[in-house]
Amino acid sequence: MNRPFGEALARLPAYLGGHVAVSVAALLLGLAISLPLALLATRRPALRGALLGFASIVQTIPSLALLALFYPLLLGLAALCERMFGASFSALGFLPSVLALTLYSMLPVLRNTVTGLLGIDPAIHEAAQGVGMTRRQSLFMVELPLAMPVIMAGIRTAAIWVIGAATLSTPIGQTSLGNYIFTGLQTQNWVFVLFGCVAAAVFALLVDQLLALVESGLTHRKRGRVITGIVGLLLVVVAALAPSLSVARTTYTIGAKPFAEQYVLAALIEQRLRNAGLSASVREGLGSAVIFNALRAGEIDAYVDYSGTIWTNQMQRNDVKPRDEVLAEMSTWLARDGIKLVGGLGFENAYALAMPRAKAERLGVKSIADLVGRAPNLSIAGDYEFFGRPEWTAIKSAYGVNFREQRQMQPEFMYQAVARGEVDVIAGYTSDGRIAQHNLVVLEDPKHAIPPYDAVLLVAPQRANDAAFVSALQPLVDAIDVGMMRAANQRASGGASPTEAARDLSAEISRKSGRAR
């Protein structure tokens, strides 16, 4: 219990720093936009309806989706900038997160400011006019001070929402306290999950209480409280940001998708580079669609992808070819963008339909073809991507299987669900340690509907000719067999940290290459 806690604590400066930076920037930007808009809207009923309507609609978009939507949008914008001005900006991480969270912060501020201002007694309005105030003077000397408690309540709500939703900026590449949660969920490290939640909650509460202090100072005209509150807020922000600023910038960034195997491989690559005297860090939890574009744009320097993913998602191919041809064609295709395919790591992590061994034997199912008559009575679970992927279409059209029910789940829960019999079949991963752990059997694919999924090491265009970098990675090619990967994955999803699992895997690689020699 102590070890994961220590590791969580060690990551706090970087994660908290990223979290505070992104949520504070979003809140400030949100206030800078919402407050003036609310002032305008208070006097214009049509604008008021439109603005509050827009903000309410934004609020109904799930925050994860809102964050995800900003990435492709900015990617397009960045490409446009590149073409027009020859210079561009990073569409990954900070910027999309700030913009999405800014939108998210707008509703409470807009609504409360408008409500607060409209709620002022008309007699007070008239008195302000009667003593000779201009509209502006009436607003700043009378209306805003009187509406202050309601406005501050809106700001506090926005602060809590933004700080909470900022945990979801991890999948689009912004380091945040969400890294604990996403990593923890994938690796069954519940200490991490809890640590992330508690850290975000403590930060949110702290900000809320300091804002409450400012509010009470403003209402009771206690300048001391206002100053204490503001200084407190500044201290919290500075204290959270300072350690992350001193976290050394590294030369190389390794990307990782949000699952255990990727964390282990990224940690392995990081260790390799460090041992070769290069400085490297891991940017983890990047979504499958985000990570490839991030590599192409040079925002990360290397990561491990799977040939089938590139083949179907990036190259938009539906045909199935033998492994060697897929690798060769892919290498040529990637080279057009300048991406270097260093090589395959030596194992496949394909999608595969799997079910508990006992159940498969009872039903006499060995391959996907055997499911055809039985599928209408069976349920299947897959990860969030699977049922939208070409593999699933290919399986259905090749075998003509139709399941009674299909469910989407977090991979971790998917394995547990099939083991407990809550679903009958899952779309698992061949290199997953949990296949053996839960005594599942992988169903054969005699019609080769599922393309090969060789783990391949990709290097960003700007590093393709970086000899020191590429040669540090080269020894990983063909160094890991599926058994080694499964064992490492099982360790990483069974309580060991990715770093530890990677260290063991590295030792295993050395042993194996020693034997081979």
Partner: protein, 259 residues
């Protein structure tokens, strides 16, 4: 219009949508005069008052203040030189007594020392206690104290004209009487021109130099209290004057009856 008219309304009409609130009102208020406008609810008296400092614009007709057409003067500047006591007080709840009184001088850009001196002067003038009331908020005052602050605020920037919209309406009779007398004294001492709206004829008779009776958007009678008491032409005016007259007679009977 005579040269000494402080306020002059000429054939002023005001309509809101279909409703005609004021219908051809002409009225002159001489400098240093205390005019009471009396009428039932909805008769247009508040609208008439609001036209004088341009809180409202007439649909037709001319309003002049100290010889100037208010339509051609800057409304904000006009309001800063006319004191206004609001119905239901209208003090700013987030400001102290001192800050409320200082508001118009502050808007006019007086220096701090002059404002501070003016606050103390006005607190004395309306018979409040500097030490006790100066830094209080309106919610911490009694109704009468609040109304005194309302009067002090109206006098803040040394106006020559003061408009009062049922200033003493919500007060208990004792406080009301004391405040009325105090204000009349201020009116005389400071040489003010005052237009006060009231629905209480007795208050009008006791305080004002002149009373204008407004009914259905028109001025139905205009004269000194004595003249109105003996004017029997308009039914509504007779009815209005009957009350104070009856009260006065009863009181006299009570006081003359030997014990």
């Amino acid at each position: 219009m005579t040269a000494q008219s402080a306020i002059s309304l000429q054939s002023v009409a005001k309509t809101y949508g279909d409703g005609r609130v004021l219908d051809g009102v002409s009225l002159q208020v001489k400098a240093r005069e205390f005019l009471a406008i009396v009428g039932p609810s909805g008769s247009g008296k508040t609208t008439l008052l609001r036209l004088i400092n341009r809180l409202s614009e007439p649909t037709s007709g001319v309003v002049q203040v100290e010889g100037e057409d208010v339509q051609t003067t800057d409304a904000v500047n006009l309001r800063r030189r006319i004191g206004y006591v609001f119905q239901g007080v209208g003090l700013f709840p987030h400001m102290t007594v001192a800050e409320n009184i200082a508001i118009t001088p502050r808007l006019l850009g007086w220096d701090a020392a002059r404002i501070a001196a003016r606050i103390d002067e006005l607190i004395d003038l309306v018979r409040l206690d500097r030490g006790k009331h100066r830094e209080r908020f309106p919610a911490q005052l009694s109704g009468g104290e609040r109304q005194r602050v309302g009067v002090a605020r109206a006098l803040g920037a040394e106006p020559r004209i003061v408009l009062m919209d049922e200033p003493f309406g919500a007060l208990d009779p004792l406080t009301r009487d004391a405040l009325g007398d105090d204000y009349r004294r201020l009116h005389d001492e400071l040489g003010l021109t005052t237009v006060m709206i009231t629905h209480d004829m007795l208050e009008a008779v006791l305080l004002a130099d002149r009373i204008a009776v407004i009914h259905g958007g028109r001025i139905v009678a205009d004269g000194t209290p004595q003249a109105l008491l003996h004017d029997g032409r308009d039914d509504y005016v007779r009815e209005l004057m009957a009350t104070p007259r009856r009260q006065a007679e009863r009181l006299r009977n009570l006081m003359e009856r030997p014990r």
